[in-house]
């Protein structure tokens, strides 16, 4: 049987086209990790059906895992010789990989369309919400709520450890009452804070609702004790607004 040799640089193993009936199953049978002999011997079984006797000479010798490694080495040597494109085994950059994750385009656009549609028609106010200690972020559309109370309800549902027990019936922190405010901030309860247009972090509830919706860029739920630093600024801004 002749073997066809084209321009292929196969040094160690003689690899050609595989015939049917190759003892390939043997290779996988021993699933034992390491040590197992994965020899795949193949005696050419000419079935006569195929009729490419000139080319087929099956010799895939996978002696052991080391042979596999050798094949790998061989391949890498081969690819280094050529001035070719990138090594495909290199991990992709953090930037988006084409076609990954395998989500169809009309699904990818759900979130985008969601925002676009509402922004165009109703000017939704999506903001990210994070809570200290929670391993995930949320997004809320502030336009979906018409009061701090409703917002806090929703936040409580999303982040179950967040209790709004210290909010007044209006769901607003009573900024006018300094001592009540300090009580809240000294507790270990969580308070919602937000970053406003100026980039300042404020306690949620310091301004009328509408104003809040228009100025809130991001929400963060943090422990009261950590929010203490915000209070003076909140008070000051409050006072300056009169």
């Amino acid at each position: 049987m002749q073997r066809t040799e084209r321009d292929l640089n196969y040094k160690e193993t003689e690899l050609c086209l595989g015939l049917p009936g190759v003892g390939g199953g043997g290779g996988g049978a021993s699933a034992a990790a390491g040590g197992g002999e994965n020899e795949v011997e193949s005696s050419p079984k000419t079935t006569g059906k195929r009729g490419f006797s000139e080319t087929v000479d099956l010799k895939l010798n996978l002696q052991s895992k080391e042979a596999g490694m050798d094949l790998n080495q061989n391949l890498e040597n081969g690819s280094k010789e050529t001035a070719c494109t990138k090594d495909p085994a290199k991990p992709p950059a953090k930037a988006q990989v084409l076609g990954w994750p395998p989500v169809r385009s009309y699904r990818k656009n759900i979130m985008a369309n969601q925002k676009n549609n509402s922004e165009e028609s109703e000017k939704a106010a999506f903001v990210k919400v994070s809570m200290d200690g929670a391993p995930y972020l949320r997004k809320v559309d502030l336009k979906m709520y018409n009061s701090y109370h409703k917002l806090c309800d929703a936040l409580a549902k999303m982040f179950s450890s967040f209790t709004m027990g210290n909010y007044g019936s209006q769901g607003m922190i009573d900024f006018m009452n300094e001592s009540k405010l300090m009580d809240l901030l000294n507790s270990s309860d969580y308070v919602p804070t937000y970053e406003d247009k100026d980039g300042d972090w404020m306690l949620v509830g310091d301004v009328p609702w509408e104003m809040f919706v228009n100025s809130c860029k991001r929400l963060r739920i943090m422990k009261g004790s950590e929010a203490i630093g915000l209070a003076p600024r909140a008070m000051e801004k409050c006072k300056s607004r009169g």
Binding site: T4, R6, D7, L8, N9, Y10, L15, L17, G18, P20, V22, G24, G25, G27, G28, A31, A33, F52, T55, L58, L60, L62, G68, M69, L71, N72, L75, G78, S79, E81, T82, C84, T85, P88, A89, P91, P92, L98, G99, W100, P101, P102, V103, R104, S105, R107, K108, I110, M111, Q114, N117, S118, A134, P135, Y136, L137, R138, K139, K157, M158
Partner: protein, 586 residues
């Protein structure tokens, strides 16, 4: 002679017997018995399925099967869904329609998937087949509402028009009005993929009202919520319904109207749509929830508590499609409430976000696998996984037939042990002996492929990405998976050796896709030239592969078996490796 007659049945009798044999596999077996059975069978085969439109030519099909009534064709490879197949690759249906127009005047059904369908094709269908009844265009593209208008105007006996997930050029909502007033035969209409341009609601309502056999209606996003009630009242016999945008200002009259309309639909079993959901309107469907077997909430951007509540109302659910907003807690509720669940698909709400958007982990899937004894089919996107979870799932659900897991970040390791997922997926293939479809993800070595080659004997389709160490991995799969039909691989260090050593295996499969791997141009050429029954095509947008060294890896390789030889409609960036390529002028 007499002996022969005594042992042979008249053709008509055989034909009658054959008419009870519907499956392609059985039909093929029948035709292989003897020459006369072959002849009889080919004249009475009414339905053909061509899994790869380039595997055979329309002429060959028509010559063998002259009396076909139903044709199903698939075009582009699966990875086209994720933009890995450049535009213009192929999959044109027109040549098929053109030949069938002459050969099959009584054709009733055309079902296409991932094919390019033009308005010209649709117009040709409309005027060529007098008894045309079924048109299903799944993930197709290339046509507009003008083509649909032609179908609507001419196909008097149309029963099914299903455009699922196709990309349609929405030129005008008025194509619906092209259904004449005398047209009453619609049974299933799916226009959910149509764009946000307005659909003529009045035309839709008139159509619905005059089609008493309408059982399945899936609307597109543009149909507003306040129109749904009226449509439902016109078609209370619906079994499947897809809403449009499920949002409106909360008004009690709209709500009660809607709730009433839903409760009127006593046979409703399947709901979908639910774009832009306003949670306050969800209770309107509660009256039908107990009967629901299928629920598609995969566009519903509502949060876990609302999803949990909804799912708790649906004890008969067999199929659920949902976003990861359902979270582990929602899936736990699903597991305790929905004991008939067979299929679960969880999609990522924010696939490109780096931080998790919702609290969905491997725990949710484990819960469902423990709680739902009939679970067979899983598609799950998540950001973390463990081998322990996979082993639990495998041991508890040996009846899984489809398992597609996508850990979103490539090469992510087991978050508990930091190990690869070889053991986990190994357990899946070992325990789930009837597994037909598997998609891998996460950190994986050659070992997982050894497991797959050893155990996955019924596996028909395998999807691999960013996995493996060497050619051994590919070799294990090609040599071990006896039932493998479709293999798609991207970004894996698989090269020439395993591919060439298992070349003949490729003739037993429908197709192999490899992109961003290490298969050299030389190996592709060898395959193409030595395997005449395979079409080996190189897709490379960098220019002719011949302009680079032979050992240079190709961008993408698509190999499929074919009796039609290399195709003639290849675009400039696709090269055939078959012998005829030397004759090709380029």
């Amino acid at each position: 002679m007499q002996k022969r007659l005594a042992y042979s049945l008249p053709d008509e009798v055989l034909e009658h017997v054959f008419s009870f044999i519907q499956s392609d596999k059985d039909r093929n077996a029948v035709s292989a018995v003897c020459k006369s059975w072959y002849e009889i069978e080919r004249w009475c085969r009414r339905k053909i399925f061509v899994g790869n439109c380039y595997a055979v030519s329309p002429g060959m099909v028509i010559r063998r099967f002259p009396e076909v009534r139903s044709v199903e064709l698939k075009g582009k490879p699966h990875f086209a869904d994720f933009n890995l197949v450049p535009d213009g690759w192929g999959g044109y249906v027109l040549p098929w329609i053109a030949e069938m127009a002459g050969a099959y005047p009584w054709l009733e059904a055309i079902r296409l998937k991932r094919m390019v369908v033009t308005d010209e094709s649709l117009e040709l269908i409309a005027k060529s087949f007098k008894n045309f009844k079924v048109l299903v265009l799944s993930s197709c593209e290339g046509f507009s509402t003008d083509g649909l208008a032609a179908i609507a105007a001419s196909c008097k006996n149309l029963r099914e028009l299903d455009l699922r997930e196709s990309d349609v050029d929405d030129l005008s909502g008025h194509w619906l009005s092209n259904f004449p007033e005398t047209y009453t035969s619609m049974v299933s209409l799916n226009i959910s993929c149509l764009g946000s341009d307005e659909v003529s609601i009045s035309a839709l309502e008139r159509l619905v009202s005059r089609c008493p056999n309408l059982r399945s209606l899936r609307l597109n996003r543009a149909v507003p919520l306040d129109k749904i009630a009226n449509i439902l009242r016109l078609a209370p016999q619906l079994i499947e319904f897809g809403t449009g945008a499920y949002s409106a200002e909360l008004r009690s009259d709209v709500f009660s109207n809607l709730a009433g309309a839903f409760s009127n639909c006593k046979e409703l079993k399947s709901l979908s749509g639910f774009w832009d959901v306003v949670p306050d309107y969800l209770p309107a469907i509660y009256s039908v929830c107990s009967r629901l077997t299928s629920l598609n909430l995969s566009y519903a951007t509502i949060q876990s508590p609302d999803l949990l509540k909804l799912v708790s109302h649906c004890p008969s659910l067999q199929r659920l499609l949902v976003l990861d907003y359902i979270e582990d807690s929602g899936l736990e509720a699903l597991a305790s409430n929905c004991k008939d669940l067979q299929e679960l698909r969880v999609f990522p709400s924010d696939p490109f976000g780096v931080e998790p958007n919702a609290s969905l982990t491997e725990q949710g899937l484990v819960a469902v696998s423990l709680g739902c004894p009939k679970l067979q089919s899983v598609l799950y996107f998540c950001r973390r996984m463990s081998n322990a979870a996979l082993v639990t799932i495998a041991k508890n659900r040996p009846n899984l037939t489809r398992f597609r897991l996508c850990i979103i970040e490539p090469r992510t390791a087991d978050y508990l042990t930091l190990e690869p997922f070889d053991i986990g997926f190994g357990a899946i293939v070992e325990h789930c002996k009837d597994l037909r479809r598997l998609s891998l993800s996460g950190l994986l070595t050659d070992l997982v492929f050894e497991y797959i080659g050893t155990y996955a004997k019924k596996l028909e389709m395998l999807s691999v990405a960013f996995a493996g160490d060497s050619d051994l991995g590919l070799h294990y799969v090609l040599s071990g998976c006896k039932s493998l039909r479709k293999l798609e691989i991207r970004d894996c260090p698989f090269g020439d050796k395993a591919l060439l050593a298992n070349a003949s295996k490729l003739e037993t499969m429908r197709s192999l896709w490899m992109s961003s791997c290490s298969v050299s141009y030389g190996a592709c050429k060898l395959l193409g030239q030595k395997m005449p029954k395979l079409n080996a095509e190189v897709i490379d947008e960098r220019g002719p592969p011949g302009s680079r060294p032979e050992s240079c890896p190709v961008e993408k390789l698509y190999i499929y078996r074919s009796v039609a030889g290399p195709r003639f409609d290849m675009p400039p960036f696709v090269w055939t490796m078959n012998e005829d390529s030397t004759l090709r002028l380029s």
